[in-house]
Point group: C2
Chain length 787, copies 2
């Protein structure tokens, strides 16, 4: 009988739902007596009651219905629990499907396993209270809200057979990221991508406060969804069997509509964006939970949000209420005496990898193919003499990325994301092989826009980040280029992704995924166009707070080093790689062989720029970042002209984490290596791309740390020339040279005239740019002299 | 004649628009010959051409029409330029209105002033390329996109007469913050608040890529806006006079509708949320600019985004194109020979403070009233012996905030924002005097929800932050409580606000505004409920990167110090104050008098906890933050019991910036003071709330820095007990005591048995919590002993 027939029997589906609800309550409350084989006692109940009941029965309801649909249609589906606080619900379903016991055998499908399942939840040494990396079938940590739809879309891009069932909570729907992410359907191509089925779950309250979308009325909500390009199906109520029928009907209608949209596009080619189906599910908060406790309404109110029944020691009658609640699910009908799910209920679940909890897409490393990478050396800028040629580093990297995209086109497993536009960041070569993705209206004058593109441009860092997370976690590769200042917009999303990666390191069944690769360009020193609001190099500091296991930061000084770094990052796994590189025409220092050696070492002495002949230098001029490297070399040139007796060593750092102790970061070089470059006693003038504190922090344990003088961004900026920006922050060649002289007493005492000349030239610069609006030719045209 | 009559004469309005366009082009291009008194030459043109032309004519168009409406209706209005990159447009209008010359007399209303106006734009030593703090009439820096509507709503809350005309770019409309902020109308009460008139400006492209909202068709766009609760009026075209008529009609209709909604609510009381009007303005990008250059279409395409005409040196014919373009505005009709705007065009502007560029709301410090504050001392927790009583710090602060809200109710100038819910953060006492704000549907069981509330709860940190910025910048006060981990969601908004404040410090006509006050609670050490995703204390690090002029960070160790800090912050001006304080029941250490003294000093020796008798201690046990303070005192208790011969000094830090040198931060204490507390040679075990690096960074210049051993958050977390969290991160009493012993050789050599006992007790704890799921009673119940 068709499930949409009014006479369809939902009793087994309902039994599954009851089983999931039972197990959810058990996880929140019990540490013993899991089957209620004896009357419930206080010592069966956990001393600390943690968890979110309110959203859980709704999640269980959707999961049960998805299982019916998966079986009926042999669907390839994953489940994204936006309200991930409802961890006990998802874990319950995963356990019922058997996947949980497969990866955690100790949590067996019997009474002993159930007891363990209950006890471990939100328990020291156990599992977290949210849907988490530990949860089989999940690619979405449900702690920080707002990214569910983005992860769902990321998962289905280039996965034509996949359906991501995405429950969106009405709380998280208030977030910025989620509000924008409904528009992701303008970037989804039904001919080559899978489908997202959003289920907006309105249970009315965040914690105590009402939610916006639950309180705007069905008419406006329907308009909103239609305006976002969706066709809503409403399912509202609280009577289980009526709700089962309505939900089955809505789900079937939605899946039919998805199938029709896909069939049309796959048969005839994509032509017009259709409205995709979505479901609005309105149920009471804490549905099926206690109706009233101590005279206060619980079900359907904000009081059902977390743990609706507490105070068992103070009021033993509450123990009876809990027992009544749990028995209302009729566990004896669900589990046999040994605690195993009865076979006819277990048969509600799909089998093998059709179970959402065992779908390999949700453990993307299983599906991950290595990227095919061209030899990055063939894109090298020819550098015969350091500094003799100029190039735009990101433009060169763009040529490499173009061919990465071309080589992997057949695998459809590489996308480039950018809020600030790929061409503006000089990665435009990729448009030779792919377009900007859009399934919205395309107009005649549009530049490389098509539904088939894999360059994702949207003016939302949240969308770029969330899509890419979903894409990576389902076993593909990507590259995210962003204005440096505005990557802070996803600071918190980065946090969550880094935490996810750190946690998965300890989970043996989670397979490594491709790294999250950021290219931060249009950086703080190149914002002469946009000024102060666009100047912030602090993302590196933010990243450095996260586990050394998962974060890497690279500042290649030129195009060839950038090529080497990009190649390395695209091959890596389970990291967050942050690359900072400029897009403006800039001096090139290293030929490809030298660049590769330099990047492999992470840092090194540039002997061609040094005059210390490998013995003890008077001063070490260190630098990291393209602009600091330029200014350092220009300063060294000044010093060598003015004070040839000063012995200067130049050290350049590409891999910033190499500065740390190897105990603090796996890339950290040994003290012996560090000291061989930075010495143990010479003053070090360190020209640094970002806020100075980071260099102190990373070198804090090194012998020579007390002699480090770091010049970096001092939060001074405006709309001015690139060189003037360095002057404002004392990172320019004149300040660096003066600082070097100042810390070598032997030289300082004889170099008063040089210091005066440096000051004069700064003043000259100041007057010149204020008159002419550009840098003096001698500064803009400076070159490293052949020596 | 009514402006909506088909025969209305828009020629003077059009002249204003042409004048604004002329001045905009002049700012982008010219450094001389402002009135085109002679044929344009290369040396009249700036060497570096910066600015965004594409959005500018649309901004000028809206501004001109708003002026007509303001004069016709005596409106009290401000202008928010979401596409703030169009800085030259807004500056042009401000100059035409005369406001610019009033605050910058050198930029006079004549040819010399116009020349200066042109030259200074995006020029070293001049003004930024975006709408910025330097721009009279602005409360919105248009560099980072997405916050325009939020600032507009913040401005009109509690300003019933004010209309914020808010231009939203179709680029920024893709951002998360903006997508969510359309829902702000559910928080706007027409009876007591003003109105926001959004003008969604579709010019079709971000930079080179098409925008989402320009490509979904008018039907879906209208549905979207209706779904968001707005009634859209469409104005589309490119023929200026047809567009003038259409825009005037749409603007009049919108202002009528606003008036009707307000009148209804003000006469009869608010009952039902109405759809507010908004305008969709569709014009060509770079409207009125060059149609074609060198065979490529410019107007209406992405090529009009920034500077549409360049290469003057290479192709002198372009100079003629620029001159033609500028002359197309017929400057001789607009300005007299001296360069002054002709009076009949100048008369298009409103007068005095009705000019949007001179509206005092946009320089909120002019309107700012001090908050009326009750005596915070009267809310004190009675503390007779340190540690004898427990209290929830934020709950106590909530009582103070309740009375702040009550006292200022008549002034309607104080709001509390929170994404994570006021009651959950234990500030629930405020509901005794105010409700949660909502003008959406309110249902019978709702808890303190009403259209008259001033507690703003929405599950979007972006909305809370943006509203509060708008509210503060228009001269009011506020308080933002947030889960500590998720304040990172607004890292980038904080950046922009801090940059705004830093810049305004240098602008004499900008009056100080109330500080942005954050209370970060539910912090990293109290996330036993939510686990790892909710554990991140890094916002402090992020804040510490910004200018010392504007940021302050406080970690009060208990309720009485929190009261003193909150009082201080609410009185302060032009700062960002970050307060971190727990909400869980916790030990109270200081009576009110001691708390006040301690907060005034910023840090100090707790002699009652020390046994060094004021002479040289063996070890300094320092702490900042409530949980680190608790663990430090418990460690000191252990040490004093086990090793009474060890001389321990306890230093507690409330004002973290006091640790810095006074050269680095105005709150920094002198070296003499610092050394008197931390000594110059004793080991310092510093228990710190956040990531350890910050303490090193702040104390780096101090004599004793080499002896600092900082214990803090090491990015280890999960769902576990509060004490176990400290153990995972080695911040617990046992690790702290062991560290103290370890760094005093005299004691270390005799204390092997003590170290063993500390290790045993840690293991005991470990076993206990894994068995019982809670901390050992001796830990949970520990008290500072009366001595």
């Amino acid at each position: 009988m068709s499930p949409t027939s009014p006479d369809h029997d939902f009793s087994r589906l309902d039994a599954w739902w009851r089983a999931a609800n039972y197990l959810s309550v058990g996880q929140i409350y019990l540490m013993d007596n899991p089957l209620l084989g004896e009357p419930l006692r206080l010592d069966h109940i956990k001393p600390r009651l943690l968890g979110h009941w309110g959203t859980t029965p709704g999640l269980n309801f959707v999961y049960a219905h998805m299982n019916r649909a998966i079986k009926a249609r042999d669907l390839d589906a994953i489940f994204i629990a936006g309200p991930g606080h409802g961890g006990p619900g998802v874990v319950a379903n995963v356990y019922l499907e058997g996947s949980y016991s497969e990866v955690y055998p100790a949590v067996s499908r019997d009474a002993a396993g159930m007891r363990r399942l209950f006890t471990q939840f939100s328990f020291p040494g156990g599992i977290p209270s949210h849907v988490a990396p530990e949860t089989p079938g999940s690619i979405h940590e449900g702690g920080e809200l707002g990214y569910a739809l983005l992860h769902a879309f990321g998962a289905v891009f280039d996965n034509p057979a996949l359906v991501a069932c995405c429950v969106v909570g009405d709380g998280e729907a208030e977030t910025g990221a989620l509000a924008a992410s409904w528009h992701s359907n303008k970037f989804l191509n039904p001919a080559r991508d899978g489908a997202v089925l959003p289920i907006l779950h309105l249970n009315g309250y965040k914690i105590a406060g009402p939610t916006v979308l639950a309180r705007i009325g069905d008419e406006q909500l329907a308009q909103l969804m239609r305006g976002y390009g969706w066709e809503p199906h409403f399912v509202s109520g609280d009577e289980p069997f009526a709700m089962h029928a309505a939900m089955a009907h809505a789900l079937d209608a939605s899946l039919e509509a998805i199938g029709a949209i896909q069939a049309e596009a796959r048969e005839d080619g994509f032509s017009t964006r259709r409205r995709w189906p979505m479901i609005v599910l309105r149920t009471p908060k804490g549905w099926t939970g206690p109706k009233n406790v101590d005279g206060a309404a619980i079900e359907g109110t904000f009081r059902a949000h977390q743990v609706p029944l507490t105070g068992f020691a103070e009021d033993p009658a509450h123990i009876g209420l809990l027992e009544d609640w749990m028995r209302s699910y009729r566990p004896e009908e669900l589990f046999d005496a040994a605690g195993s799910l009865r076979p006819e209920i277990a048969a509600q679940a799909p089998e093998g990898s059709r179970r959402m909890s065992a779908n390999p897409h949700a453990n993307g490393g299983l599906l991950l193919k290595d990227l095919l990478l061209p030899d990055f050396r063939t894109y090298a800028v020819a550098v015969t003499t350091p500094g003799a040629v100029r190039a735009e580093a990101t433009r060169v990297a763009g040529q490499f990325l173009r061919d990465v995209m071309r080589l992997n086109d057949a695998h459809a497993n590489f996308r480039i994301m950018g809020p600030d536009e790929t061409a503006s960041n000089r990665l435009g070569a990729v448009f030779e092989v792919s377009d900007r993705t859009s399934t919205a209206l395309i107009e005649p004058g549009d530049d490389h826009v098509s539904p088939d593109g894999r360059v994702m441009e949207v003016l939302s860092e949240h969308l770029c980040q969330g899509w890419l997370e979903g894409y990576l976690l389902t076993g593909r590769h990507g590259f995210f280029s962003c204005y440096e200042a505005f990557i802070h917009i996803i600071d918190s999303m980065f946090n969550q992704h880094a935490k996810w990666l750190k946690t998965t390191r300890k989970i043996p069944w989670r397979r490594p995924v491709a790294s999250m690769n950021y290219l931060l360009t249009s950086h703080v020193w190149q914002q002469d166009h946009n000024g102060f609001s666009h100047q912030d190099p602090g993302f590196i500091d933010h990243v450095a707070n996260k586990s050394a296991d998962v974060v890497r930061v690279y500042l290649p000084p030129d195009a060839n080093t950038l090529l080497s770094v990009v190649d390395h990052c695209l091959r890596s796994r389970d990291y967050v790689n942050v690359i900072v590189a400029g897009k403006a025409p800039a001096h090139q220092w290293l030929d490809m062989a030298a660049a590769e050696r330099h990047c492999r070492a992470g840092l090194g002495v540039w002997t061609w720029a040094s005059n210390d002949e490998g013995v003890a230098p008077d001063v070490v001029m260190a630098c990291a970042g393209d602009v600091p490297t330029l200014e350092t070399l220009a300063a060294v040139d000044l010093l060598r002209q003015e004070l040839p007796e000063l012995k200067v060593r130049v050290v350049n750092v590409v891999d910033v984490m190499a500065l740390q102790s190897p105990l603090a970061h796996p890339h950290g070089v040994s003290n012996a290596t560090f000291d061989s470059m930075f010495t143990t006693d010479a003053p070090v003038i360190f020209a640094w791309h970002g806020y100075p504190a980071l260099i102190h922090r990373l070198t804090y344990q090194r012998a020579n740390h007390g002699n480090f003088h770091v010049h970096g961004y001092r939060e001074e900026g405006t709309t001015t020339t690139p060189f003037d920006m360095t002057v404002l922050n004392r990172l320019d060649r004149f300040h660096l040279a003066a600082a070097a002289i100042d810390c070598v007493p032997r030289i300082r005492d004889i170099a008063g005239h040089v210091q005066q000349r440096l000051r004069d030239r700064l003043l000259e610069h100041h007057a010149y740019i204020r008159c002419h609006g550009q840098d003096m030719p001698e500064i803009a045209g400076w070159q490293w002299p052949a020596r």
